[in-house]
């Protein structure tokens, strides 16, 4: 227990530098864990979110753009497809269910998506779960009514019975307001999917919105597809993408999203590198803090040596002190982690409607603290060597 007494007292004697150094370790450790968890969870969540669909059929173009637009309500639509294409795929024997969507308007920046009520009544957005209403009822497909996603409703301050005028385009422009008036009939319960940040209206309403091209009044932006079997997806992929040249069949959705993460993999690496560097700099901070305090420790070291403490024992105490600073820092690091991931997941939620599981267990929560503590222990080696070499007689002055 002697060594813990020495370490405890030393930490108290150098309380200020201990606190500052532990804080930098906390930030570094918190940042490292946050980068890792956000990266992993985003990838995991975004490749798993499909809101209950296996594929998306859309205009010829990028599969990724199609998925981002139709599933995540991000990006612009690559174009429209005639209603006949929707009718065709809906009746295709390999297709279990097909839900058309139309996009092109917004409500103060929140995307308005036209669809059919079956999206809410028939589709399980995650196994065993249908979209539910927290208030009101679904829209009437023939009326100018809307159901608002929970997040959008909160941000827009809308509740059942409120009315609004849609704005043209996907980007909010106050001057491009449509004349049509919609009534809010329902608010969706939170689903932690992109649907939460969408204003849902009947597809016919969006297609025939005042100011829209009447020639495209029956076009749809995309068709969300549920397949009867995975092999059906490859068959339709062959039919639309390889044999045809007019439409794009995005399948499987998870693999397409995984491609996105592969494309931005370099960014993850840059973030991880920055986090590693911050961790390294913080560990160097431990080294500097202890090393700089060695002058004031020499006398204590000499006294302890005179009392019989061995060189290795005292060097070990220095390494243990550095380790303790690392451990204290990493305890606080979890608080920093909680603060960072809460902020980041709120931003992701804000931007995509998707809620990442920020506090789910991730191996980084084990190896990052251990790594940081190990790094701190290593950084204690240099001061420990200095302690090892401390000249006892010289530091026990005065000499008589």
């Amino acid at each position: 227990m002697t060594i813990t007494l020495i370490v405890r007292r030393s930490l108290r004697q150098h309380a200020f530098s201990t606190a500052i150094t532990a804080l930098s370790i906390a930030l570094a450790g918190g940042l490292l864990m946050s980068v890792w968890v956000v990266k992993d969870q985003s990838q995991k969540t975004f490749t798993q979110v499909n809101t209950g669909f296996d594929a998306v059929l859309g205009a010829r173009g990028s599969k990724l753009q199609l998925v981002l637009n139709a599933i995540f309500d991000l990006e612009a639509s690559p174009g429209n497809l005639p209603e006949s294409d929707y009718e065709y795929i809906k009746r295709h024997p390999a297709v279990k269910r097909a839900i058309p969507i139309a996009v092109g308007d917004n409500l103060r920046g929140y995307r308005i998506v036209g669809t059919i009520p079956e999206l809410f009544t028939d589709v399980e957005y995650t196994p065993g779960r249908h979209f539910a209403l927290s208030a009101g009822r679904l829209f009437d497909p023939a009326a100018k009514e809307a159901v608002i996603g929970s997040f959008a409703a909160r941000r827009l301050g809308l509740s059942v019975g409120d009315t609004f005028h849609p704005f043209h385009g996907l980007v909010y422009d106050v001057k491009s307001q449509h004349a049509d008036t919609y009534v809010v009939t329902g608010i969706l319960a939170p689903s932690n999917t992109p649907a939460d940040k969408v204003v849902w209206i009947p597809i016919h309403g969006l297609q025939t919105m005042s100011g829209h091209d009447p020639r495209a009044a029956t076009d749809v932006s995309a068709v969300l597809v549920q397949l009867r079997s995975p092999s059906a997806g490859f068959m339709l992929d062959l039919m639309y993408n390889k044999q045809g040249n007019r439409l794009t069949f995005a399948y499987p959705i998870g693999a397409i999203m995984a491609e996105l993460f592969q494309k931005i993999g370099w960014f993850d690496k840059v973030l991880a590198l920055v986090a590693y560097l911050v961790a390294l700099v913080s560990a160097a901070g431990v080294l500097v803090a202890i090393y700089n305090s060695m002058a004031s420790r020499r006398r204590d070291i000499a006294i302890l040596r005179a009392l019989g403490a061995g060189r290795l024992f005292l060097s070990g105490a220095i390494v243990l002190e550095a380790t303790a600073i690392g451990a204290i820092g990493m305890v606080a690091g979890f608080a920093a982690y909680a603060a960072i991931v809460s902020a980041v997941s709120a931003i992701i939620r804000d931007q995509t409607g998707v809620l990442i599981e920020a506090f789910a267990y991730n191996p980084v929560m084990l190896w990052a603290p251990l790594g940081m503590i190990g790094l701190c222990a290593l950084s204690g080696l240099l001061p420990a060597m200095k302690a090892y070499r401390t000249d006892v007689a010289e530091n026990l002055a005065p000499v008589s």
């Binding site: 007494l5 007292r9 030393s10 004697q13 204590d300 009392l307 403490a309 061995g310 008589s400």
Partner: protein, 230 residues
Amino acid sequence: MSAGQNLLRLSGLTKTFPVPDGGNRTIIDVPEFSLGAGETVALRGESGSGKTTFLNLIAGILSPDSGSIWVGDGDMAALGEHRRDRLRASKIGYIFQTFNLLQGYTCLENVLLGMAFGGRADEARARALLERVGLSHRLGHFPRQLSTGQQQRVAVARALAKRPSLVLADEPTGNLDRANAREALRLIRETCAESGAALLLVSHDPDVLGLFQDVRDFSRMNLALKEAGP
């Protein structure tokens, strides 16, 4: 080889230090010295005569260039540093002129550390010793919160905490006023006697030396001083 009846026996002890002009200067050259178990000896020596170096050699803090230093059954001069530390931790208590208390530790912790490296840190004994030196009400105080005389009493308790067979005292009253010096000396001698420890005290103060029966002249013992001349 055994030191026989003597607790401390040294022979042919020399120690040189490098000097700025590039050569070496012999500071210690003591052919013989011995101290029996439980014996009390005072060494008279002027400042700068090498007394502290002599005590540091006996304590194994410094290693000699030649000679042997038997403390009980161990030759401090022949042991490696780790074993010297162990021998010092188990057999030698050291009282310094400037007390050398650990400022970040309480009185009780200072005394506990005095015995921690030689065996078990026995808190009951530490408390008893501090009570013996009249500081039972200062256990949780830090050295800076004590008077100089009280600090020296903590240093005495610390040196004796491990039940050493040899106590080295280097000008232990050098920083005390006359009244406190007498009190400290009384305490050192009494507690050494109570625990059966031999005491080797060095001082240049005639008042201090006058209190001891066996006073030896370090300048005569240390041939290096004779060679260097006055």
